[in-house]
Symmetry: C2
Subunit: 267 residues, 2 copies
């Protein structure tokens, strides 16, 4: 049985680096497909023909929001070397480009350099103290994305859901797929962008569109719960970074991402 994520992130090769895809409506916020979902779809397609199995760093620029339905992708191999390959790809719909990706791929199973970690796993409240997500956001916005996950939010970071924003721009949760699919590197590209915006706990609301999202994949995740923590330190004139860390069930950092997003004027 194919998981929703696998069904919705695999495109069909047409030759010459061209692919056909169906953008699913299962990963949307207010009808708009989530940026992390689109990134996973594009990166997976871009990695399709590579000898290098793993995405290492994936950057996506969001140009216009596509709608669920047919789309096409074009993949450009920039350089394929011994250890790494660089690939660019575009996601198109109705003759307009929606997302441009630039990525480097490699093999995380083959790493053999030094290791030195100067960090602790994210300090998420214990699972049993965390709170399941709602399928709607303030204002009645429907979030199909939420139903795809079993996610449990740290209550200290979702004060906004109780009408009591903490005043800090952060959000943390335990996350796994609702259908039992285990995490892999492709799904981490989605997970880093799957939580509500950090700025909700500043008392802001509404859509927070992403201009650019870069994810570093650092290790293949173990099976089980992921812990995700996203933080914004600098909201300046409506522009903000969202820094996400994802840790796996064996206390390994598996992904770090940073995105540049906007709180629309008056938001």
């Amino acid at each position: 049985m194919v998981s929703d994520f696998d069904r919705d992130t695999i495109a069909e090769a047409q030759g010459d680096g061209l692919y056909k895809a169906e953008i699913s409506g299962n990963w949307s916020v207010g009808g708009k497909p989530n940026g992390g979902y689109l990134t996973a779809l594009i990166a997976r397609t871009a990695g399709d023909t590579l000898a290098h199995p793993d995405p290492l760093s994936i950057t996506a620029h969001f140009l216009r929001a596509p709608t669920p339905g047919p789309a096409s992708l074009d993949v450009e191999m920039i350089r394929s070397g011994r250890a790494h390959a660089n690939v660019a790809a575009g996601l198109h719909q109705d003759d307009g480009e929606c997302v441009r990706m630039l990525g480097v791929f490699g093999n995380l199973a083959a790493v053999d350099g030094p290791t030195a970690v100067d960090a602790q796993p994210v300090e998420l409240a214990p699972l049993e103290q965390c709170v399941p997500a709602q399928g709607t956001l303030p204002g009645g916005v429907e979030v199909t994305l939420t139903r795809q996950f079993d996610s449990r939010y740290d209550p200290r970071t979702i004060g906004w859901a109780r009408g009591e924003p903490s005043g800090r721009a952060h959000i943390g949760a335990w996350v796994r797929f609702a259908d039992g699919r285990e995490p892999d590197l492709w799904s981490l590209l989605l997970v880093v962008d799957a939580l509500p915006p950090t700025v909700f706990d500043l008392g802001l609301s509404g859509w927070v569109p992403t201009l650019e999202l870069t994810t570093h994949l650092r290790a293949r995740p173990a099976a089980g719960w992921l812990r995700v923590w996203v933080r914004t330190r600098f909201l300046i004139g409506g522009y903000l970074e969202e820094d996400a860390e994802v840790w796996d069930s064996e206390d390994k950092l598996v992904a770090m991402s940073r995105q540049l997003a906007i709180v629309p004027r008056g938001g």
Copy 2:
């Protein structure tokens, strides 16, 4: 009188998005042009024809190291909207692509959204306690890059230069151009990558090539000294992130960058 930085980062338009450039030898480490310098050259070229004056997020993928000398650039306008423009560009030398850039441009003078900052300026030692840079690295590697700056390093972060690495992967410095040119957004693209590798203070040495470097430009810098702090929390199997923050003389965060780099096997 034109500053070295301006002279070395302006390319000559050839029409149809093509440019000729001269890669300068003034910004090299061991004869290899610095990645931040190349990024500044490419981004400045990519922004040449835009109505949007400011780089906001610039990603560079490093494919192969060019040498000082003639090079060409090709610029692709992906999307030009009211507030933002997305551009891709490649830097080529001897028929091979050396760097691919993907960037989004806008206008930082026009921002009018909310501001909330949850951070303090980097905790650099006072200028008078900091140490000027040397023009050579361990092993006698020549660094022409160093001569371009008046840089003063926090002694707590350059233990490696005294043969006493601190064991933490960090480096911090006060930085300004040696020729008095004041900082701007273009020069920040260089400055985020202009300090020696963080892992030297772990006792590692040698070349630490960058796979991917993304810089967010958050505000136009004031004149005067910049404070730069770069930190690595995760060196995993030879792959590491370097996170840089740059603060200006008015205590504003002006740039944040993250790069994915490698300590070569046995490094």
